[in-house]
């Protein structure tokens, strides 16, 4: 424990080494090496627990990564309480996901690559979380993006998977460029990139500049946490294996955006305008994603939009200044959303389809998955007694205090959350099985992680006080009014879903007709995706090829080749003089003499 907590470098180096080992092991040893992949997240979790237990932050292991002629860019790792919390989250969720994957990916032939990438991801994520310098954070940030690209495109034979992978990387890359600009601005203003120094210098930076820095960092966070408008990649990212979605697109990577804002909180604190932007974007994303999730037919798409919506909640809390509430919701969300994703994974593994219309009555056939799914959905909707209720309540309370209007929007969003959560639950786990396969419960390897995740989903709510203290916030009591309102709203959502279910499965079909055009809009996520492809991606290709054909080939190359042709032209002209008649030559001689001598005289004058 202390060894790992002692030097953060080992927490990063170990996963990378394991990844190399697994990849080197290849297919022959995969059945053994796949268990190695479990060691990496366990180490991260232990390191986190170590620091949390002793609550003594480890000293930063800094190194002058790039130094030349006096100016130095440091890179380093350190673990403080915030990092420790994130390490625990990443560790626990990743462990469950890896164990689950051993069952889920059992019959896949590229398992070494899969588990190596998972280990690599864990290493990169822990580097991101433990970074004590913005450079290391940025390195972890992009490596995590690369791992998500490679994992989404894991089944590269499917064109849609490889397209989704590229889309994911590029959209997050836009965010990363914004963040890079923020870093560059910080570097110019404060002359250093190490987080403690930057945070110390934050108050002195001019109001205007600090707001721009905060906004740029938020662009990076929005890209990674799939906030509007950079959210288009998350629904497509469902092309990847489900455990990957559970790990990366539910708990860890998407949470990095929230972590970044919390880590760089002093910069955001002095930039109120930026905080307002964060609040607005958070609320808009929360509400917008919740509406879209209500009409999705693919179980994973529902969960994807739900994640976007919940992240919207967290950013709204950050916008309202409640970093504690946001982090707490992040933690509980990580637990129950990972649980739901793994549950959906177990369901998909059993029925070989992701379309909820071909499911139904699975509670009887898959009791463990069913019950754990119910716990997850219960927590997600914020119904009382489970973790979701406490964390969501904290978020809504803080947002209500900051901006009442935003609070109401969030309450509406949580109604929709309850609706879509239970809509899926009714149609998948109740009634009669509509599919053609014969679903059965996965092995212990798949059910154990579900149970393991169910525990925090249930219990975490009661540890809000110690959680807040570890992050240095005072634990506010539960606000009865807000709690009451949110519970009633959740119950309404559940009843609505039940009403929909009672009308029978064909109700799903008629949804399209009854809602009419609204359904189209909602289903395609307000057409944002098609808008982007039509107005941004396609023209890029046209512009690129036009530039190539016209500017490069004709203009610049033309100029280069043109000079060659010009010289040949002069050559041919000059050769015209060599006609062969001697008198022509002689007369040229004479003319030459006259011209030269006249110049000589004119100069000599």
């Amino acid at each position: 424990m202390s060894l790992l907590a002692g030097n953060p470098l080992s927490v990063v180096a170990l996963p990378f080494a394991l990844a190399l080992l697994i990849a080197a092991g290849g297919k022959k040893f995969v059945s053994i090496t796949q268990w190695l992949a479990v060691v990496a997240p366990v180490a991260a979790a232990l390191a986190g627990v170590g620091v949390l237990a002793s609550s003594v932050p480890t000293a930063a292991q800094d190194v002058a990564w790039l130094s030349q002629g006096g100016s130095v860019v440091t890179a380093g790792l350190a673990i403080d309480n915030l990092t420790a919390v994130m390490l625990v989250i990443v560790g626990v969720v990743a462990t469950c996901v890896v164990v689950f994957s051993i069952g889920y990916m059992a019959d896949d032939d590229a398992r070494p690559r899969y588990f190596a990438l998972l280990a690599l991801f864990t290493g990169a994520m822990s580097m991101l979380v433990m970074a004590s310098s913005l450079v290391t954070l940025f390195i972890g940030w992009e490596l995590v993006g690369a791992c998500s690209y490679l994992l989404i495109g894991f089944w590269y034979r499917k064109p849609s998977a490889s397209a989704a992978a590229v889309k994911a990387f590029l959209t997050t890359r836009i965010g990363d460029v914004g963040m890079l600009l923020g870093l560059a601005l910080l570097w110019r203003v404060t002359g250093s990139l190490s987080i403690p120094e930057v945070l110390a210098a934050a108050p002195e930076i001019g109001a205007g500049i600090v707001t721009v820095i905060a906004l740029l960092l938020f662009v990076g966070a929005a890209g990674k946490s799939a906030q509007f408008p950079l959210h288009i990649w998350l629904p497509d990212a469902m092309e990847g294996p489900t455990p990957v979605s559970a790990l990366i697109h539910a708990a860890t990577m998407v949470a990095a955006g929230v972590f970044l804002v919390v880590r760089m909180w002093p910069v955001f604190e002095v930039a109120p305008i930026a905080l307002d932007v964060v609040l607005v974007v958070g609320v808009v994303t929360a509400f917008f994603a919740a509406t879209v999730a209500c009409v999705q037919l693919d179980i994973k798409k529902v969960l994807a939009y739900s994640t976007i919506s919940q992240l919207g909640f967290m950013f709204a809390a950050l916008g309202a200044g409640a970093t504690g509430a946001a982090m707490f919701h992040l933690t509980t969300h990580a637990a129950f959303k990972a649980l739901l994703f793994l549950g959906s994974g177990s369901v998909i593994h059993a029925v070989e389809t992701q379309d909820i219309r071909e499911m139904g009555g699975l509670l009887k056939k898959m009791p463990v998955t069913g019950t754990t799914w119910l716990i997850g959905v219960w927590a997600l909707s914020g119904l009382p007694l489970l973790s979701g209720f406490f964390s969501k309540d904290g978020v809504i309370a803080s947002v209500l205090h900051a901006a009442p209007l935003a609070g109401y929007a969030l309450i509406a969003a949580s109604l929709l959350t309850a609706f879509y959560a239970f809509r899926v639950t009714w149609f998948v786990f109740f009634g009669s099985y509509r599919g053609s396969a014969h679903p059965h419960e996965g092995g212990l390897v798949m059910t154990a992680p579900l149970i393991a995740l169910a525990v925090p989903a249930i219990a975490l709510g009661y540890f809000s006080a110690p959680f807040m203290q570890s992050l240095g916030h005072e634990a506010e009591a539960l606000d009865p009014v807000v709690a009451g309102v949110s519970v009633t709203v959740a119950v309404i959502g559940v009843l609505l879903a039940a009403a929909l279910y009672r009308l029978g499965v064909d109700r799903l079909e008629t949804e399209r007709t009854s809602l009419g055009p609204v359904h189209g809009v909602l289903f395609s996520a307000y057409g944002v995706d098609s808008f982007v492809t039509r107005f941004l991606v396609a023209p890029l290709e046209k512009v690129a090829s036009w530039f190539y054909e016209v500017v490069d080939r004709k203009v610049i190359d033309g100029a280069a080749e043109g000079t060659a042709k010009l010289t040949m032209l002069f050559g041919r002209l000059a050769s015209g003089l060599q006609t062969g008649e001697t008198d022509v030559y002689a007369s040229l001689l004479g003319v030459g003499f006259v011209v030269l001598m006249s110049i000589a005289i004119w100069l000599g004058r």
Partner: protein, 98 residues
């Protein structure tokens, strides 16, 4: 000063002959004209600028010798050309232009 004008004029005339005559012989004659004019010019200069006579004469002599050799070689070429292909017109001899 008048010698200067004379020689320049005759030199120009010689050049004219070279340019306009088609027969090689005439061209050679033109060359002779130019050479002669130059020689006279040289000598008139020598007397004008007080250069000792002998060196002027030596130089003129050299020019003379060269002119003679040149005519000799010119004649030889003309003879061989005419014998081989009966062409002594400058226009027909186009090979020069490569």
């Amino acid at each position: 000063m008048s010698a200067l004008v004379l020689c320049a004029a005759v030199f120009g005339l010689g050049l004219y002959v070279v340019l306009t005559r088609r027969e090689l012989i005439a061209v050679l004659a033109g060359a002779e004209l130019m050479l002669g004019a130059a020689n006279v010019q040289l000598v008139s200069f020598a007397s004008m600028s007080g250069v000792p006579g002998e060196s002027a004469q030596a130089l003129a002599l050299m020019v003379l010798v060269v002119a003679a050799a040149e005519v000799g070689v010119g004649m030889a070429i003309i003879v061989t050309l005419s014998r081989r292909s009966a062409r002594s017109r400058t226009d027909d001899l186009q090979e020069v232009n490569g």
